[in-house]
């Protein structure tokens, strides 16, 4: 079933690449493929189960312990579901382009590899999807972006490839240290290799943190993110923020936290500090941006900082087990919430670009008059992003900080400042965009179309649902299973 969820979009991409379809047909083919993928994941979800479920395995290179292994636990299922939903929305999002068929082919391709990354249980296949997501996003940004798109795409590709190769080295070292060469994630989680202290585990851990840190991104490896976001087409930015960034954080949990818990515990404090720096840096720099997309992009650095803080707390082996579980739950919820909220924000930004070809905030104002629906959606998303109680962001940040106060109270206290700044910057953004006087050049600004409203509503409805009734998501994630070894082994 999970294999289907990967193959359907990839097949659709192949069809779109060769079959001479019109733009509308191409769009619905890609959307339909993503929807079928989502459906397959929902079927797995309804099937329920504990631990890794819906597992299947086909050998690829048995001599090297590489195989096509798929299976999900709560965390990866939740992330895959969120990704599939975001892909449905982003491909269905109306956008005017040249060579639409190729665009939708790449979107479908990206959907397949992104979902594949979350549901695979083989480290090499994981790496394959990790790199393929770079290729897909490179072509999406380079070909359909605006401004300095090629430059941004190149920077994105080179930067993240550097990270992914570090991850590859780490993966190889982990696999070589298994009693028998294997890239099976379950085996590596059950018997973490490299348990002994020494230089090598530290270096491997560093490779993973830098590699995943570039993708997440965490300070100081975030500099590829703003140009890539600004110059990408709206739906691609939504996917970049909503899905691709999660790959970094997901990898951080899946590999260093679960496969080398002792080393993680040793380095958890520096990682937490880096997380807090990301929180503050992202928030402060975002505050200073006058470009709509840049501002949202830097809030991604801020939000992923919360996630990293949560992950660091979870792997710290300090404090009570309950606190660490809270933090990890929060980190995963933050990933989901950030995917939905920032995905919505970037789609809104894409809608603004379609109507005005402009991102410069001072050029806007008073849009609440001509575009009430856009204003409503943006306000809801912005409030969710700044962590208003009753919305998804609050649930996530509450969990993270509850956990963090139990382990690193001072760091948590500093991190709280980030929420304050984020609130200020979003309120300012809303004021600049939607209130005040409408500039003359914005006179013909049209509101969101019905289909845009419907797509945004799907995302924001979930944001509200998670905010009001998070229990279903929390029980799906099941953080207890993720750090099952008491004390993280350390």
């Amino acid at each position: 079933m999970l294999t289907l969820a990967i193959l359907i979009p990839l097949l659709a991409a192949a069809v779109l690449a060769v079959a001479p379809l019109g733009a509308t047909t191409a769009r619905w083919t890609a959307t339909g493929a993503a929807a079928l993928s989502l459906l397959a994941l929902v079927v797995v979800w309804i099937g329920g189960g504990e631990g890794f479920r819906a597992v299947s395995e086909v050998p690829w290179v048995p001599e090297l312990g590489i195989a096509w292994r798929v299976g999900v636990d709560g965390m990866s299922l939740a992330l895959a579901l969120m990704s599939a939903l975001l892909f449905v929305v982003a491909t269905a999002w109306p956008i005017e382009l040249q060579q639409a068929r190729a665009y939708y082919a790449w979107m479908a391709f990206l959907a397949g590899v992104s979902i594949g990354l979350f549901v695979t249980l083989d480290l090499i296949v994981f790496y394959v999807f990790f790199d393929l997501s770079l290729v897909g996003m490179y072509f999406l940004i380079g070909r359909w972006g605006h401004g300095e798109a090629q430059h941004a795409a190149l920077k994105f590709f080179v930067y993240t490839l550097a990270g992914s190769l570090l991850i590859l080295i780490g993966i190889i070292v982990l696999a070589l240290n298994m009693p028998e060469l294997t890239f099976d994630m379950r085996a590596l989680i059950d018997t973490p290799p490299l348990a002994a202290a020494g230089v090598v585990p530290g270096l491997v851990f560093l490779a993973f943190v830098i590699g995943f840190g570039i993708k997440t991104p965490i300070f100081p490896f975030h500099t590829w993110l703003p140009p890539a976001h600004v110059d990408a087409p709206g739906p691609a930015s939504a996917l970049l923020a909503g899905v691709l960034l999660k790959m970094g954080a997901y990898g951080l949990i899946r590999i260093p936290l679960q496969m080398m818990p002792e080393t993680f515990a040793r380095w958890a404090l520096p990682l937490a500090i880096v997380g807090v720096i990301s929180i503050l840096w992202g928030a402060i720099v975002a505050f200073a941006q006058e470009n709509l997309k840049r501002r949202i992009a830097y809030t991604s650095v801020n939000h992923m900082g919360y996630t990293v803080l949560g992950i660091a707390v979870a792997g710290s082996a300090l404090g009570s087990e309950a606190a660490r579980q809270l933090a990890l739950t929060g980190a995963v919820v933050e990933m989901i919430a950030h995917g939905l909220i920032t995905g919505a924000l970037f789609l809104i930004a894409g809608a603004v670009w379609q109507r005005s070809q402009d991102y410069h905030l001072p050029n806007f104002g008073g849009l609440a008059g001509p575009a009430p629906r856009l204003t409503g959606a943006a306000t809801l998303a912005a409030f969710a992003s700044l962590g208003l109680p009753g919305l998804a962001g609050f649930v996530a940040e509450l969990h993270i900080f509850l956990g963090a106060f139990g382990v690193y109270p001072w760091i948590a206290a500093i991190g709280l400042l980030g929420i304050l700044i984020t609130a200020a910057l979003f309120l300012r953004l809303l004021r600049q965009m939607f209130f005040g006087d409408l500039p003359k050049e914005r006179a013909g600004f049209t509101d969101l179309t019905r289909i845009e409203v419907a797509l945004l509503a799907a995302l924001l409805a979930l944001v509200v649902l998670i905010g009001l009734w998070p229990a279903w998501l929390l029980s799906l994630i099941d953080a207890r299973a993720l750090i099952a070894v008491p004390g993280g082994g350390g």
């Binding site: 290179v61 072509f139 190149l154 490839l161 190889i172």
Partner: protein, 463 residues
């Protein structure tokens, strides 16, 4: 010493002679038949090589090793030569000496096969020289084009120096160790300065064949100036043979740390020099030449850990095979575009010629090692072998170089895909077109059939 042991080599030799005779008889516009005959002869050689795949013994008084490495070397050399010949008919159609070029390809392939199978230093010298002499001719085949002549000249000068060093090295080793046969030299090379100098000189001669530092300077010139099919051939076939021969020599002295270190340093330097020089090339052929230098550097990683990691030999052969196919594919694109080489000419090419752009993109991304392309699996094997032998620093260098290489490969791909199209240009159809798609099919097939191929690779050498 049954003569049948050298069946594949003899088949290539006899075919070469037959092609030469045929070229004398046929009128020039019929010389395409020489290509057909050459490919047929290569097919026979491949069949004979396959029949000997499971044999493992020394033959001809211990001068030639029939083992897994030879079997793979033969099949790769024969197959890739056939691909390069596939690029040629239309390319050389207007050349007065069209038919003879196939004989040259075959003689050069014969030299490469002798090099790959050599189990004796003198046999190695013969192979290297035969492969070199024919290589000079192939590089300068466009006699009235200055750049081609210059390429041939540079190849010849660097080659003359390197081959002289090789022969001096052989003399030193024979003098100090008392034998030319690998079976007797194995583990018996004395650790004294003269013998070590001899081995180092032999390695230098083979570095020339592989296009590795310090004898790498011919590669970009040949890639740019030689006729495109010959450039594809010279950047692939002698390199594969050289890699196997190099591995055999390094494996003779497993205990001598200094040799491994030397090869590791050469590997690191080669990949770095190749990549840095490729960065700002504006000519795609030259860029491919420098990229070919850097790829030789990656391959040397496996030679550096020879005997210290069980996967070293399979990794080397697998990586070189994938590199060879991808390089031929890249040059096939250039042949298909009739030698169009300036990067600016590639702007917006995807609109006019989507097929070649797709093949070029796949080939270049395979060089980078983007999964799941076969280039990734080759690099994965190399990295695993190097990490297993504890050469972490070399892997870090290779990783940094890989990131660097992505930059210049994208300098070709990005304009082709994102750019605005310029004027149309002439293209070469016919067998070059078929070869293009065939090499893509081989490259993708390598990914799918990696497991059976990998388990068929030899784990160890004969002597």
């Amino acid at each position: 010493m049954p003569i049948g042991d050298l069946g594949p080599e003899l088949a290539v030799l006899l075919t070469a002679i037959a092609v030469l005779l045929l070229a004398m008889v046929l009128p020039q516009h019929r010389h395409g038949w020489c290509a057909a005959l050459a490919v047929a002869g290569l097919a026979v050689a491949a069949g004979l090589a396959h029949a000997q795949a499971d044999v493992s013994r020394l033959t001809f008084s211990g001068t030639f090793a029939l083992d897994g490495a030879t079997a793979w070397g033969r099949v790769l050399i024969v197959g890739l030569t056939a691909l390069c010949i596939g690029l040629s008919p239309r390319w050389f159609a207007t050349d007065r000496r069209h038919g003879e070029v196939y004989a040259m390809f075959l003689f050069s392939a014969l030299g490469a096969m002798a090099m790959a199978g050599a189990a004796d230093l003198m046999e190695l010298v013969v192979g290297v020289l035969l492969s070199s002499v024919t290589g000079y001719v192939l590089a300068a085949y466009h006699r009235d084009w200055a750049i081609s002549l210059e390429a041939g000249m540079k190849y010849f000068l660097v080659g003359a120096l390197a081959n002289a060093l090789l022969v001096i090295g052989v003399v030193l080793v024979v003098g100090m160790a008392g034998s030319t046969a690998y079976a007797e030299l194995s583990g018996a090379i004395p650790e004294d300065p003269l013998a070590l100098t001899g081995v180092a000189l032999i390695l230098t001669g083979l570095f020339f064949k592989m296009g590795a530092v310090p004898a790498h300077t011919w590669v970009p010139d040949v890639a740019e100036g030689a006729p495109v099919p010959a450039a594809a051939f010279l950047t692939v076939v002698p390199k594969i043979a050289g890699a196997i021969a190099l591995y055999r020599v390094v494996a003779l002295a497993p205990g001598i740390e200094a040799l491994s270190l030397l090869v590791a340093i050469v590997a690191a330097t080669t990949m770095t020099v190749g990549n840095l020089s490729a960065l700002w090339q504006d000519d795609v052929r030259r860029l491919l030449g420098w990229s070919s230098v850097s790829q030789a550097g990656y391959a040397l990683m496996a030679v550096a850990v020879a005997g210290r990691a069980p996967q070293a030999l399979p990794a080397l052969i697998a990586f070189m095979a994938v590199y060879g196919i991808a390089n031929v594919a890249a040059f096939a694109v250039i042949a298909r575009l009739r030698g169009r080489t300036a990067i600016t000419d590639y702007s917006g090419l995807v609109g006019m010629h989507p097929g070649p752009v797709v093949v070029l993109t796949v080939a270049l991304l395979s060089f980078v090692g983007i999964p799941p392309l076969a280039g990734f699996l080759g690099k994965l094997a190399l990295f695993t072998a190097a990490l297993e032998a504890g050469l972490g620093w070399l892997v870090i260098v290779a990783v940094a170089n890989t990131v660097l290489s992505l930059f210049y490969y994208l300098r070709v791909v990005a304009p082709a895909v994102f750019g605005t199209p310029g004027a149309g240009a002439a293209t070469l159809r016919g067998s070059a077109h078929v070869t293009l798609w065939l090499s893509l099919a081989l490259l993708l097939g390598a990914t799918i059939f990696w497991s059976p191929l990998w388990s068929a690779l030899p784990g160890a050498l004969l002597p």
